[in-house]
Symmetry: C2
Subunit: 518 residues, 2 copies
């Protein structure tokens, strides 16, 4: 069995003590590790000291060490038999507001062993984070919320271990990436001031915590890395995303957009990182955020319209009968409606009730995507003019944020070398459609990179590559968080961006739509 060079598991062979070299067991082990790791300080717990003398001799001075690192301080989390057959595993966690994804990894090979996901049980308290934060003001509210997520996680990780034929006791390291509020609720920290001016978290850098302190039912010596956050609106999930993307290591300037419950943007390169979050002020409320709506079986995620026949071709997730439309489907729909001339540059339906798919309900036009006889709900699946108006605002908000953050630092959107799109949204969205409606900038399509669950991937990296733990500190410390100033200039930009694709179509040269004049 070979140790993963980059990993946290190191097998150390010690010279047995002699009268001339008779330092203590722990000091012998730690000094060998320090040399190996070029470490200044390595901490070892009393519980480990207590079992060390017997084990060190039983294993004939060969020890498999499971390490971790908290800023400059290394931690010897546990030791195991170097010839033992039990695996040494770690658990990476994407702690989402609505969905939690966990991945079990072999810490020696660095390979994933299995993955599962579950609804965040705090949904029962409130679907959105705001409701939960208000709930936490109640008596024992913080504790109740913490208990919900901890219990569910313990159940799920045990079940994942079973399905991977391993035991929870073999989990020695964990890494958790979530937004700031979720991280607080997971740690049992009161999130009260996160949503109140001037928006103060309890801690931005909780560091590494004993799993037992968090009541996580894994190895009692296990350690948990809590991804740091930059502030109340810029969480550890995005730090994990940056880590995974590698944006912070590139010399050229790139951008990363994560549309989850919130829309967060990071711009930068190996020299600087600037970020902002999109939940900035009433103009955008229910705007960008709405597009992150959940995808699931039977949800329409792709639509194309044949401009000559007006024929709709829809695709649903897992090809189930259609039950609704998700954000990426809606963007596809709007793009197709626009490109086929069925909505105008203001996003208004140009077709009237004379068009079979259009009907007026309560004085508002609706367009049928799937007729009742083909839908899983038994009713027509429709999109109203109001939905389209909302999408206009959303896409305008997104574009305005992108334009504002880039212009603020003197970068032009077309100069971006990679446009990373994180999260579920990023995996499903069709960049071409998003460009057609003017939501994302008109870059060559090959510059768009979907990152998938970058939060989970970033968390996994910290468990399999020991150098990445220094990177997350470095990323966090380097980020300049820019509060979005929703001033007149921003509102002017926003108004211009509500048009399809934009009041200035020269910004979107690739988008060919009916009556294009330039």
């Amino acid at each position: 069995m070979k140790d993963n060079i980059k990993g946290w598991v190191k097998t150390i062979s010690l010279a047995p003590p002699t009268l001339q070299d008779n330092t203590a067991d722990a000091d012998r082990l730690l000094s060998a590790l320090k040399m190996h790791l070029s470490a200044d300080q390595i901490d070892i717990e009393l519980s480990l000291l207590r079992k060390l003398p017997d084990l060190i001799r039983k294993w004939k001075y060969n020890i498999r060490c499971i390490l971790f690192k908290d800023r400059k301080r290394w931690i010897l989390a546990d030791i195991t038999d170097p010839g033992g057959s039990s695996p040494v595993t770690g658990l990476a966690i994407d702690l989402g507001t609505t969905r939690v994804v966990i991945r079990l990894l072999d810490l020696i090979t660095g390979k994933p062993l299995g993955e599962s996901s579950f609804d965040n049980p705090q949904l029962a308290i409130g679907p959105d984070i705001l409701t939960r934060i208000h709930f936490s003001d109640q008596n024992q509210g913080v504790k109740k919320l913490k208990r919900l997520i901890t219990d569910a996680l313990n159940t799920e990780l045990a079940s994942l271990c079973r399905s991977c034929n391993t035991e929870t006791q073999n989990i020695f390291l964990m890494a958790i990436a979530g937004n700031t509020a979720m991280t607080h609720l997971f740690l049992g920290l009161n999130p009260h001031f996160i949503i109140r001016e001037p928006y103060i978290p309890v801690s931005n850098t909780p560091g590494i915590i004993r799993a037992s302190e968090l009541e996580l039912e894994v190895n009692p010596n296990a350690r948990v890395l809590i991804f740091p956050n930059v502030g109340s609106y810029f969480g550890g999930d995005l730090i994990a995303g940056i880590l995974f993307s590698g944006l912070h290591r590139r010399e050229d300037t790139s951008i990363l957009v994560d549309v989850g419950t919130n829309a967060e943007v990071v711009l930068g390169n190996s020299n600087w990182l600037v970020s902002c979050a999109g939940a900035a002020g009433p103009a955008l409320e229910g705007g960008v955020t709405k597009m992150g709506m959940m995808a699931g079986k039977g949800v329409i995620d792709k639509i194309s319209i044949d401009p000559s026949s007006g024929q709709f071709t829809i695709h649903t997730i897992e090809d189930d009968p259609p039950i609704g439309i998700c954000g990426s489907g809606l963007i596809d729909l709007a793009a197709q409606l626009f490109l086929s001339g069925m909505i105008d540059v203001r996003g208004k339906l140009t077709v009237s009730e004379t068009y079979a798919r259009v009907k007026e309900i309560d004085g508002m036009l609706h367009i049928t995507i799937v007729p009742a006889e083909k839908s899983a709900t038994g009713s027509d699946l429709t999109i109203s003019q109001a939905d389209l108006d909302s999408l206009s605002r959303s896409k305008a908000a997104m574009y305005t944020i992108l334009e504002t953050i880039t212009e603020t630092v003197g970068v032009h959107l077309p100069e971006l070398s990679v446009f990373y799109v994180a999260g579920t949204f990023g995996s499903f969205i069709n960049p071409s459609s998003a460009i057609s409606i003017g939501m994302l900038p008109d870059l060559p399509l090959n510059r768009y990179t979907a990152l998938g669950n970058s939060s989970l991937e970033g968390a996994s990296m910290t468990l399999t590559d020991s150098s990445s733990i220094d990177e997350i500190t470095e990323i966090r410390d380097r980020i300049t968080y820019m509060e979005l100033n929703v001033n007149q200039e921003f509102m002017n930009r926003f108004s211009a961006a509500k048009f399809f694709p934009h009041t200035d179509p020269s910004l979107f040269p690739s988008v060919k739509y009916p009556n294009r004049t330039n």
Copy 2:
């Protein structure tokens, strides 16, 4: 109330957060502390994070911080109300094999509040450390020994707190100095290999441990500094002694001798430190160590003999009726017998049964120190020729150790600028008598300094002077431990030193005894 500049308690005033300066509560506090302390990393526990946001606001951004330091890592142990009236206290502990002494200190003023002592309850298992180490091999032996000392300490510290009108919850820091084996038994570490070649402790540097992990009933956030040891026969008690003496800060070379259960010697200056322990081989067995015997009420600690009248004048501890004689009394006795010509240069009684105080019992001469009618025991208090022979070996062993360690590093005994004598032995011994019998070198008396309970004093220093914690690491890392090589040269020296004062009387020019020939 003013903070002690040198101490661990710092009151920090923070600028309240604003939209422009909206870092997290913990990060705000820690970065102010880092600036104040020039610290690189300060750790804060989850339990503290959980209460921080409410307290920081309740106290209007003024926080009294109780800090501690583990090598390069600072620890924020707890926070309290800067205007609060409860004291912030610390407990220094001299963890002796036979006696434990505790001192309560005000961590803000640095002043001692009270002190008490108690017998080490492990005496019930075995009076000497060897018996206890063997006991620890039994099932649950280590746990039982740990429980005994922990329970007794908890009872005694609670009682000390009551007598000082404070509460155990106000104890935030503790410092414990003991020999290596006692430190192991206190931490619940198996001392098995300490007494087996090549004499390996579990850890030389246990560092700082949570009081709760040690089941100490003080503030749950309290931290405990465990004095490091150099090896199995050079413990934290002596590191504490060096710290208190200041030997390691002096430019000129000094020596420190601690005669407790063991005899330990440190030689050095601000550039180097060399040490050795006297429990080295069978030649010295029951030798030096016996002189550390316990002093108590009624024990004879001083004796003078009028050479003309042969009159004995004795002094007992607390002036109680005499019950026996302790090490320092025995040294006084031997010196007086020698100076008055009642023992010769070989340490043999020169007086016969013709002298009223001398009688033969079982073929061996005994000299009566206190006749039955004046003793508290109702019997004569006597010293036999065998006792005197044993003393000759003890004093020879001591002198040989001192001669060997100094000569090994090329220092001559007369060059020592200070001769520190630590422990109870050091407090009671009369250097003049020790010189007369050739146990200690013939230095001017003003170079002898009794340190008292230097282990307790050193432990107290680490609680009241934050810079001293770096010193103990530095002392430990600088000490070169010299295994006493009991070779032919050593044995030759030892034989020469068994004479009174020495076969080479020129080494003791100040000692004037009958028939002195040089």
